[in-house]
Each structure stands twice: as structure tokens, then as C-alpha cells.
Symmetry: C2
Subunit: 208 residues, 2 copies
Amino acid sequence: MATDTRVLDDFKAAILAGRYAPRQRLVEAELCEDYSASRFAIRAALQALEAEGLVERIPNVGARIRDIGIDEAVEISEVRGVVEGLIARRAAERVSAAQAADLEEIGASMHAAVAAGDTGAYGELNSRLHSAVREIAGHDKASDIIARLHGQMVRHQYALSRVPGRSSVSVHQHQAIIDAVIARDGDAAEAAMRAHIASVIEALRATV
Amino acid sequence: MATDTRVLDDFKAAILAGRYAPRQRLVEAELCEDYSASRFAIRAALQALEAEGLVERIPNVGARIRDIGIDEAVEISEVRGVVEGLIARRAAERVSAAQAADLEEIGASMHAAVAAGDTGAYGELNSRLHSAVREIAGHDKASDIIARLHGQMVRHQYALSRVPGRSSVSVHQHQAIIDAVIARDGDAAEAAMRAHIASVIEALRATV
DNA sequence: GTCGCCTATATTGTTGACAATATTGTTGGT
DNA sequence: ACCAACAATATTGTCAACAATATAGGCGAC
């Protein structure tokens, strides 16, 4: 169970990659074939994924991919906003000179990606920035929660990245976060992060 | 598994009631006896409780009650602070007249409990206040996270309630939260809640 | 006497078969 | 043609026995 973490990892990666449709039924026997694992291992994985909010299970009926609608995605983002705000504040309080340089470099690359119209690269940099800030903050509990919430959001995240002109708006918000962290201004960093997520929520509502 | 929710509920309640010591080993066979359940059901419960952060499992070795130290308790409280802040803000935006009256009544009871020196009643009212605010906010995702974090904190929560003079300090903070929510002032409600949790963190650090 | 190895024991991990349950399809009646 | 009851199937839930692994205690060598 804990031994065979491979099944869970692969399965989770597949869900996060969007390889399963929302509300798709997950029959244990089929999953056994797909991941060439025993039903035992599959059940353990399903239970773990249920706890992570990625899978929904109904007793005696079966499991399915949880469908997270816009309303729930907004709620998730609201929580994410305040928790990432906490992280940004902590990052501003603890950032080192070397880390500050890293952030500045990410910011420069972002501007370059926007100028080149490379949305793929921008999305990649977006992830890198958020994870860099998390690392600087060094707040395990907050990072865990963000990871969990992010997992539930992947589908909408993907939809967001395809909204045209989105990156040219968010690049300034990202820069504001970077500037505040480098300036070691906790209040400003939290405010910038919250403003950024608020804008994400707005865009999210617009994708309906 | 999902059928026999009784085992999980009882077991979880026992942990939350502090009936198991931190780092206490949880041998599956013993738990089978205690809850007169099959090993199968016990394993499912253990896995669920691991996901909730109440139990820690090491492959091929076994499960034990997770020991949450002061440092981690502080981190948990920091996250709790911002998420409860969000909840308080939402509550202020959505509170109805009847709900406002309920809050005021809780506040009055709190003052009375402090005056009477009844720490038990005060603790009870504390829970009631926070859960009333959660209900007013109607933010499922935030409430879920708070519930999970609270579960991990029970031990320290108990220690806190026994700090002498703690209630006479916190009663004013609680009143500030109530006032802000009733005034429908989101900013003030969030600030009051965060100040309250900050004070809890301070007290937490002092219990070492 | 102490260190390392080895065996014994306790405990968890895994499997396959079986039971319980829900869903689907079919048949007969009106 | 439609509905209800029933049978057949698919799927999950549960169990008890077995395998694998880690821990603890004892034995011998130095």
C-alpha cells in the first residue's frame, strides 16, 4: 500500500494531466488493468485520492472523477488567495539576496515570454514563480494546503491559461509580487498576492 | 469500507478526545479488539486518518498518533488565522439580522462566563462563536480546511484553555469580531479575527 | 565486555476467493 | 405502448489465510 506508491503517483499524475474526464466512472477492475496493479492497491489509491478531493466515491456504487464547477473553483481560489498571501508575506520577511536575484530573473523571463507571445513558457514561469515564493517562505503547512487546492483546480487552470491577453495583465501583478518580496515589505507582498488571485478569480468567472 | 463508517467515527472521536497519547503506537490487531472490527476496516480508518493528518504511518512498521509540536502548531495557527479571516470577512458581508442577534447573545454569554470564572462554559462558547461565524459565511472550502486544521490542534487547544487569565484577554477580541460582523464591516472583521488568532499564537508559544 | 551477526517473533503488506449490493435487461400483464 | 416485478450481470465490500518485512533478543567471536 504505502509500498506501492507508484500506482498512486501514476494515477494522480494522469488525473492532474487531465487524462480523465470530469464525472468519469472509475471502475476498479479497469484501473487494475491500466496500471497493472492489484485491486488492493487501486482501492488504496482511490481512497487517498478521495481524501485529496480529486475523486468522489459512493458506497456500493463506485468512484468517479470529481467535477469541480466554477462556483467551487472560485471558493478554492478565495482560500488560495489568503493562504498564498500568507506565504508571500513570509517570503518577504525571509528572502535572501540570492533568492531575490532568482525572483528578478523569473520576472525578466516573464516579460520576455509575454513580448514573444509564448504562452506555454509563461505558464511554466508562472508555476516557477509561485513555487519559488513558497520555497522562500518555508511554510510547510501553507504549502501543503496550496498543493492540495491546486490539484483540484488543474482543469480550470488550464482553461485560464488559454484566455487570450491574460498573460499581459498578470505579468504586472507578478512583477508587483516580486518587487514587494525583494523590498522585504510583507504587507505589500501579501496585498500584491491577494490582488493577483482576485484577478484570477475574475478571469475564472469570465470563462463561463 | 465506506459502509462501516462507525469504526472511523469512533476512532477519530477517541483521538480527538485525547484518549491516545502522542506518538503512541497503533497496532492493527489491538485496534481490531478495541473497536471489534476486522483488520480490513481498521486499515481503511487508519488510511483515512493519515490523510487527515491525525495519524502517521511508516511502511512495514506501523501507525502512530502524530505528535504535533509547538512549531507545527504555530504554523497551523498561522494558516488558520488567514482562513478564518476570510471567513469572518464573508460573514460580515452576508450576516442576517437574526444571525446578528445570535452573535450578540453569544458575546453576552461570554462576558458572563468570564465574570463567573467558568472556563468550561467559556471554551464551549468559543467553539460556538467560531462555528456560528463559519455558518454565516457559508464558505464550504474554508470551513473544511479549518475543520482539518482544528483536528490537528486539539491537544494544544486544550492546553491553551487551561492558561489562567486567557479568557479575560480573548473575550475582548471575540467581542471585536462580533461587533465588526454585525456592523457588516468586512475589513474590520478580517482584521479582528487575525488579531485574535495572532494572540492565540502568542499564548501558544508561551505554553512551552 | 562489547560488537556484529543471526535467528525468532511480532507486525504489516498482499492476494484471491466469496458475499453483498446496485444496475441493467427482460418478461409478462394491463 | 407502458409499467412493475423479477432475473441476470456488473461492481464493490469483506474476509481469512499467506507472504514479506522490520524489530528484538541471543549467541559467538574478538
